[in-house]
């Protein structure tokens, strides 16, 4: 007997494990009959998951946490038993902002501290000359993109709420907004950074892996109540996604993966631009300069699929740092409990596996992250909007 499931996704490369799980038959092999539903906004994915129109979803990790805490919306406990991807975002800037940062930079342009300090000087010069503040696009208030941009610029002394504007933009609108000067930069997932570079309207300034070595990005999310009622379907879904992730990570399968993702009903963009993200080999400037990184997007390798509660704690700490919520020990526990490695281990037949290595986040600025002392951690940062 097969179990019918409806799963929502946003057309981004980091939905790969989910799409391949379905389109290459890994879900069918687990006895699941999955219908993938392409959505246009994270709000829709969240709401349809919350009210049960979706059984599972490709979801921004911070949205899963915000839903479980009731931040910004109805409180619906969500669990994330599988990470669909680590990293995968990039910061792209307009040619004008790129030139301004490069003329101010003192150090290696790949060093996020050097670019953040240069950005601070650009921001100060603009203020002095009476120019409009710079505008940065990101995808959602509760998004990794929001926190990654903020973390980076604040390290250089730029207050993201006072010195620049941060605005939400749907990913498909990012490139147009950069081209017509509506934003000066954005942080978004693949393939949109590459699309901007190809059109000559943007330079990829950083892979987010420059800012954080290991950052939970999208998760496979289900309602906690659903996970309790459907343990077998959930385990089957985790296994299917894990097998798909393994398939995608095999370099010989990348071209086929990109081809499947490129279909109109999946991502609907060119296969070549998708494969760049999977390979971590991106064109970073309109003149054709390339950059390769083994850390651009991790789908399954280096244990990427196994959720790490420390990652949830880091995301919760960012919500606190930027005033989206107040620090409360019970809320921290709730946030960490969204990421469920034990469900992953049980589904994969590895109960009692060793916990993830500590300090795996690897931010370029500030002290090593300690989930047990978020207040102490946040106190180390000068810029922020939280009250101890």
């Amino acid at each position: 007997m097969t179990t019918p499931l409806h799963i929502g996704f946003i057309p981004l490369v980091d939905a790969a494990a989910l799409i391949i799980a379905v389109d290459k038959g890994f879900t069918a092999a687990e006895g699941l009959d999955v219908t993938l539903v392409r959505e246009v906004s994270w709000s829709n994915v969240r709401d349809k998951l919350n009210i049960g129109m979706f059984d599972a979803a490709h979801l921004l990790a911070p949205v899963a946490i915000a839903s479980s805490l009731g931040l910004g919306h109805v409180k619906v406990p969500i669990v994330a038993p599988f990470n669909l991807g680590l990293n995968g975002n990039a910061i792209t800037v307009s040619p004008a902002l790129h030139a301004a940062i490069m003329s101010e930079i003192d150090g290696d342009p790949l060093d996020p501290m050097a670019t953040a300090l240069a950005l601070a000087r650009v921001v100060a010069a603009r203020r002095k000359s009476g120019a409009e503040p710079l505008t940065f696009g990101m995808t959602f208030p509760f998004s990794t993109h929001n926190y990654q941009l903020r973390f980076w610029m604040a390290a250089g002394g730029v207050d993201p709420d006072e010195d620049v504007r941060l605005v939400v933009l749907p990913p498909p609108y990012m490139v147009d907004s950069l081209a017509n000067g509506h934003v000066d930069a954005f942080c978004v997932g693949a393939p949109w950074n590459s699309v901007a570079v190809d059109l000559g309207v943007g330079h990829i300034l950083h892979f987010v892996s420059d800012i954080l070595v290991r950052a939970a990005e999208k998760v496979l999310a289900v309602r906690q109540s659903w996970s309790e009622k459907n343990p077998n379907a959930l385990a089957a879904l985790i296994r299917a996604a894990a097998h798909a992730a393994e398939y995608i990570e095999e370099p010989g399968n990348r071209a086929e993966t990109a081809h499947i993702l490129a279909r109109p009903e999946r991502l609907g963009v060119g296969a070549e631009v998708i494969q760049r993200a999977l390979d971590g080999r991106l064109k970073i400037s309109p003149d054709g300069q390339q950059r390769e990184s083994g850390r651009y997007l991790l789908v399954g390798r280096e244990g990427a699929g196994r959720p790490d509660p420390a990652q949830a704690a880091w995301l919760y700490a960012q919500m606190v740092r930027w005033g989206q919520t107040q620090m409360r020990p019970d809320a921290l526990r709730t946030a960490m409990a969204v990421f469920r490695p034990e469900l992953y281990d049980a589904a994969m037949g590895r109960p009692g596996a060793a916990p993830n290595a500590p300090g795996a986040i690897g931010a370029f600025a500030g002290p090593a992250f300690d989930p047990a002392d978020i207040a102490g951690h946040l106190a180390a940062f000068k810029i922020g909007h939280w009250k101890p």
């Binding site: 246009v40 709000s43 709401d47 919306h73 109805v74």
Partner: protein, 196 residues
């Protein structure tokens, strides 16, 4: 603020027909301050300039995420806006998501005042999608008619049948193979294309 008399309502919808249907309904119900935004560029700036009490947006619109920014406490946001959800009333969320619409309200606006607006919105959205379905059905019926006519022409020519005989042949084949006559007609077109 006009909220005490008639709340100012902004409709964010790229479909001009659906927006007009909704706007008309709201006006008939006595909500006079209705503005339609169809252009998504600088959406937040437009909304702030209008300073509405209620914002209605269709769920096919990616800019729905832009509205979520209005919950945030930041300098970019002037008046806090909340999504209209009633924790006690899951059915109303379900109904609005089913209809494909979502409502955002200025924090503090009373639930009794927004409920009739949302209900009206849901019924107009449902009426619109019914219209859309009928239109799609009519269109595909017309398409099918054309395919059947072309297949009939091919059978008449190749097998030397009359129009009546060609139609009867397709109908009896459809019944025997438990298919629709349109599908049989389509396979005749495909086959004749291949055999050209």
């Amino acid at each position: 603020m006009s909220a005490e008399s008639s709340p100012k309502i902004v409709i964010v919808d790229e479909s001009p027909i659906r927006a007009a249907i909704l706007e008309e309904g709201l006006r008939e119900a006595g909500f006079t301050g209705v503005v339609h935004i169809s252009e998504m560029q600088s959406l937040l700036a437009r909304i702030y300039a209008l300073d509405p009490d209620v914002i209605l947006i269709d769920l096919e619109n990616p800019s729905r995420d832009v509205l979520e920014q209005m919950f945030q406490v930041s300098r970019a946001v002037r008046r806090p806006i909340a999504m209209f959800v009633d924790q006690s009333d899951a059915a109303s969320i379900q109904a609005s998501v089913d209809a494909g619409v979502s409502a955002y309200i200025v924090d503090g606006l009373k639930k009794e005042r927004i409920k009739p607006i949302l209900d009206l919105c849901i019924s107009r959205f449902n009426a619109f999608s019914k219209l859309q379905d009928e239109l799609d059905r009519t269109k595909s019926a017309l398409e099918e008619r054309k395919v059947i006519d072309r297949a009939k022409g091919i059978l008449m020519k190749v097998k030397g049948l009359t129009e009546e005989e060609a139609y009867v042949l397709m109908r009896s084949t459809a019944m025997r193979e438990k298919k629709k006559i349109g599908e049989i007609a389509q396979s005749i077109l495909t086959a004749s294309e291949l055999l050209k």
